[in-house]
Symmetry: C2
Subunit: 302 residues, 2 copies
């Protein structure tokens, strides 16, 4: 069996786990790391057994590029790979589902033109949680689903805070209030010479935070607060065929970047089995995401 | 939008809920009921607004036949519809996954020859639970999944007991012992003139029971024990990208025949969107199972 050739794009928290998951997957091999020019030398001193470059053309041509990058960069970075006929996987999570839909339309056209595949929003939420919500709606089409996150660090929200001027380090913790309602606890360490109230105002006005109940705190050191664990509880109470009070509950407690990375790697596997175009996980048969022979997987999972 | 035409085959516990779920689905319409000749007059006195027949050719031609029948009858009944170019849906659950795989190969050939689609084992287990197990394995590919059923009545096992000579009425309750281990509590009401010990021996030797810890009890009336509620808890502890102790848990508590029926109806919807052949739910994009426009579903579920 020919192995799927993977380039890992971005060596942050998620990227490091992506590389490990690729190395553990017997159907894949890593052909190299793509990083921004400023970080190439730093990363290549840490990862010595793979080429590290800012230009994917310097690598053996990958089948798939796994984009372990900030969501905001995905709409510009993904096309640069798709134009070269390289599949892309991202964990895009911004501007709600409508943002993802916009990205999907953009990448679908480019992927089809270049005979390759993009899979978007392939983390755990959006991603595998979306699959769980779909299963629950299949069983009980009438009813309400609540997704309760945390307590745990939100990577997307933490990145959003860190991007604000004057923030030296930060962490954003998501806390469930029940029934799918949340509050966010933000802890910031300031750069010298910045005013906390001004920075706090900018955070609360950021599109990532402006719709939520947010508590912003200044701390002297953020590092001591960091725990990459996260949780989610998805609940649905609904009606199947007229029978009410059908109850489903899904609870997950994981190392967040490791779970995200592993789902992206599963999506990379699925990408080589899809027709050209852009997909969410909802549009892909689950069996395509799994390592192994089809009949064996059916035997094991059915 | 043209509605999907559905024939409901079998008017037992599940069939009645299938009919209700079809009637509640705005993309479907019921064209009639197919029953065994002996039951046609009884069922047609209960359901007066739809044709009831033992011959599907007497109905307006359905797109899909939902087979709400005993699993053992599926391998002979499904082909009779597929040969007429009618998609079939079943909740086949017998001889473990290898039995399903055998059925899949049989029906795949017939479906392809007749340009139609069969979806097998489309209940909640096998069925939506299979999807949950797949999602858990996507997130944490190394580890162990345990499926714990009950306490609740097993329809398949109850039918298996009722089929044994001398049994007037029966119910089989599945009880979880933890870590995916179960015991079965069987309650039987005997026909006059039969010996309990002989009947109990036959039950314990039946392929449905011979591998399990089984407690068989004689009761004077089974009816008072009947509750159609059932539960399942699926647990996985595994490793994502080298990070251990990733934990996922799914718990469901439902009206059993209603949940089964609703999943079969979702599969009927998906069947008209697949290429000819035979599928399990693992091989179908989840979005195809849901009612609604694709982009709206993505917006809602992502």
């Amino acid at each position: 069996m020919e192995k799927i050739k993977v380039a890992v794009v971005g060596m942050g928290n998620v990227g490091r786990y992506v590389l490990q998951a690729v190395r553990e997957s017997q159907d894949m091999e890593a052909v190299g790391i793509v990083e921004i020019p400023e970080r190439v030398s730093q990363i290549s001193s840490q990862i010595t057994d793979l080429p590290v470059t800012s230009n994917v053309e310097e690598l053996e041509k990958p089948d798939v590029a796994i984009l372990a990058i900030d969501s905001r960069a995905v709409p510009s970075v993904a096309p640069s790979f798709l134009y070269k006929g390289i599949n892309t996987i991202d964990a895009y999570d911004i501007h709600g589902a409508e943002g993802a839909l916009r990205l999907k339309k953009q990448l679908d056209e480019i992927a089809k033109e270049n005979n390759c595949v993009a899979i978007i929003s392939a983390g755990w939420d959006p991603g595998t949680d979306s699959l769980i919500r779909a299963v629950m709606q299949i069983i009980a089409p009438k009813g309400m689903t609540c997704t309760n996150f945390g307590p745990g660090m939100s990577m997307g929200h933490t990145v959003a805070v860190k991007r604000i001027k004057g923030v030296k380090d930060a962490v954003s913790i998501t806390c469930p209030k029940g029934m799918g309602m949340h509050m966010r606890l933000v802890y910031v360490e300031l750069e010298d010479g910045y005013d906390f109230d001004e920075v706090a105002k900018k955070i609360s006005e950021d599109p990532y935070f402006c719709h939520d109940e947010v508590y912003i705190n200044q701390v002297s050191t953020v590092k001591d607060l960091i725990d990459m664990g996260h949780s989610v509880k998805i609940e649905r109470k609904g009606t199947s065929a007229g029978a009410c009070n059908q109850r489903m509950e899904y609870h997950m407690s994981v190392n967040n970047p490791a779970a995200t990375a592993q789902v992206m790697v599963a999506a990379a596997r699925a990408s080589v089995k899809q027709k050209p175009g852009c997909y969410t996980l909802l549009e892909i048969p689950l069996i395509d995401l799994l390592l192994g022979e089809k009949d064996e997987l059916i035997c094991k999972l059915l």
